[in-house]
C-alpha cells in the first residue's frame, strides 16, 4: 500500500468518526441554548453519584486488580471470566439481574429493606448500577498496569525497610499510575454515560443519560442540545487528558 493511499484512508476514517460531533456542533442553536427544567439537577446527580461510584470502584477494585496481577492461584482464569461477566452482559439484561437481586423481592434487596435501605430508584441504586457498569473496565486496566511494574522493585522497597503498604504507595502505584489513570478515566466515562442498567434499577434520581432520554421523549430534539454539551464538558476532559498523557509517556520523574 502506498503512503498516499494510507494517509487518505486514515483521514477518511477519522472524518467518519468525527462527523457526527461536527454535525452536532453545527446544528446546535447557540443563540438560544438554554438548559430545560431539571437539566442542572441531572448534572448534579450524575457528577456526585459518579464520583461516589468511582470511589467504591477504586477502593474495591484496586486490591482485586493487584491480587490478579501478582498472584498465581487455581481458578485464576475463572476469576478473569467472572470479572468480564458484567461487561459482557447487555446493559438492559444487567439491569434486570440487579433488580432481581437488589430489588424489594430480591435476596439482598429484601434484607436491605429491613434496615431501611431501598436499592431501587434511590441514590444507592443509581451508584450500584454505575459500579456494575464501570468496575470491570477499571479492574482490567489497573491489573495490566500493576503487571507492568517489575516485582523486583517492590522487593527492593521491602528490603529498604518499607512495609508492603508503604511499598504499594511509594513504588507500585507511582509506576502504574498512567495505566491506573486510564482505567479510572474509562470507568468515569462508562459510569457517567450508563443508561441501560440505570434505566431499569434507578430511573430516579435522574442523571444525564436518563434525563436526555426523557427530554427527547417529552419535549423533542431541541431539549437535548444543552444537556448534551454539559455531558461532553463533564465527561471528556479526564479521559482525553489521561489518554494523551499515557500515549506520550509523560513519565516525568520526581527530581525536585
Amino acid at each position: 500500500m502506498t503512503r498516499g493511499l494510507l494517509v487518505a484512508l486514515a483521514i477518511g476514517v477519522l472524518a467518519i468518526l468525527v462527523a457526527p460531533f461536527l454535525g452536532f456542533a453545527l446544528a446546535t442553536p447557540w443563540g438560544t441554548l438554554r438548559p430545560v427544567a431539571g437539566d442542572l439537577a441531572a448534572l448534579r446527580v450524575s457528577v456526585v453519584y459518579t464520583l461516589a461510584a468511582l470511589a467504591i470502584i477504586v477502593v474495591g477494585g484496586t486490591p482485586l486488580a493487584y491480587w490478579m496481577a501478582r498472584y498465581e492461584f487455581r481458578g485464576k482464569i475463572l476469576c478473569e471470566a467472572l470479572i468480564l461477566l458484567p461487561l459482557l452482559t447487555p446493559p438492559l439484561a444487567m439491569g434486570i439481574l440487579l433488580t432481581m437481586f437488589y430489588g424489594p423481592n430480591g435476596w439482598v434487596g429484601h434484607e436491605a429493606r429491613t434496615f431501611g435501605v431501598e436499592l431501587t430508584n434511590t441514590p444507592a441504586a443509581f451508584v450500584l448500577a454505575q459500579v456494575y457498569a464501570a468496575a470491570p473496565y477499571f479492574i482490567i486496566a489497573a491489573r495490566s498496569a500493576f503487571e507492568g511494574v517489575d516485582p523486583e522493585l517492590e522487593q527492593i522497597s521491602l528490603t529498604l525497610g518499607q512495609a508492603p503498604w508503604a511499598t504499594f504507595w511509594r513504588v507500585t502505584l507511582p509506576l502504574a499510575r498512567l495505566g491506573v489513570g486510564v482505567g479510572l478515566a474509562i470507568a468515569w466515562v462508562r459510569a457517567l454515560g450508563e443508561f441501560g442498567i440505570v434505566l431499569i434499577i434507578a430511573y430516579f434520581p435522574q442523571g444525564i443519560p436518563v434525563k436526555l432520554w426523557v427530554n427527547l421523549q417529552d419535549i423533542g430534539l431541541d431539549a437535548v442540545y444543552a444537556l448534551l454539551w454539559l455531558f461532553f464538558l463533564v465527561a471528556l476532559p479526564l479521559p482525553l487528558i489521561l489518554g494523551i498523557a499515557s500515549r506520550r509517556h509523560l513519565a516525568k520523574i520526581e527530581t525536585a
Binding site: 523486583e152 522487593q155 527492593i156 521491602l158 528490603t159 529498604l160 525497610g161 509506576l175 520523574i253 520526581e254
Partner: protein, 341 residues
Amino acid sequence: MTHVAYRLQRPLALDVALEITGFTVLLGLSGAGKTTLLKALAGLIPGVGTPYGGLPPQQRPVGYMPQGYALFPHLAVWRNVAFALSGSRSTRYARAIDLLGRVGLGDLAGRDPRTLSGGQMQRVALARALARKPELLLLDEPTNALDSTTRDRVLTELRALVNQLGVPALVATHDPHLAAIGDRVAVLAHGAIVQQDAPAAVFDHPATSHVARLVGFQNLWRADRVEPDGGGVVVAIGDVKLRLTPPSPLTAPAGLAIRARDVVLWPDRPPAAAGNLVTAKITELRREGLATRVVLNGPLALEASIDSRSDLGNLSIGERVIVRLSPERLRLFRWDSDTSV
C-alpha cells in the same frame, strides 16, 4: 564474622552453612541457588535459619543489591538513595548527598537513574542499600550488567569500597575472577556449601571435582585407584599411574586434576630423574594472546597452556611430545558423581 545457617525448600532445596567475613564471595554455577540464598537472607523467599530467621524483609538489617540493580525509574538518583530514609526533605537530601559522595557520585544527585552507566547504577544501588546502615550487604552478580572493559575496574572499586565501609558483604557470582579477589570464597553446589576458605586455598586445593571445574582446572580425571606410597599417593587412571605429594586419606572414587599452565611439555628428553611422564600427540593448537593452548591426545586427554614466546613456540599439530605432570601440582579431591569428564 557472621555465621549463616539457612534451610529452604522452595524454589529449590538448600541447606547452607557459611561464614561471612569482609568481602565473601558465594561462587556457584547459574541455577545453583545463589540468588535464592541471597533472597532468603533478605527475607524475600521463605527460609528457616539464622540470622534474621522469621523476620519480614522490611525488618532485616541487610542491604540487598539485585542483578541489574533495580533502581526506581520514577525517582531521581538522590531520591533512590534516600528511599529508606525518614525525616524532613532537607535531612534526607543531605544524607543522600553524603552517601553518594562516599561512592564517588556526589554530582549525579539530580539525574534520572536510567541515564547512568552500569558502573554508576551499581554504585547508586550500593549507596541506596547502605542508607539503612545494614549489618550485612547482599550483592547479586555485581559484574553481570557491566561490559568487560569496565568490569575489572568497577570490581576493584567495589571491593575497596566495601572494605572501606566496613560492612561485611556476601557477593554471589559465577565468575571465578570475582571470587579470586574476595577475602573468602564459599562454593555453593548441590544445595550446600561444598567448600569455603580463603580464595588461594580454594583455587589451589579444590575439595571436589565440582569446585575444581568451577575454579578453572582444565584437566580433570576420575581416578580408578588411590594407593598410599611413601610420602605421597599413587593414583591410577586406566593404565597411567601418577604419583603426587603430599599423602591423602582419599580413596577412589576420587578426582585428579592439574591446571593447563602447570602441565610441562618436553619436545626432547626430560631429565632422567623426572617422574609422572606421559607421551601424547598434539591434536590442536590455539593462540590465546601471549599463551598457546595445546590440546593433546594419548593415554590421557590433556590441555596445556604455554608461553608463545618460549622455545616451545613452534610446536606443530601431529607432533609427539613428552608431558610431565608435576607431583606437587597435581590435586586430588572428592569425586562428585555428576561431574562429566
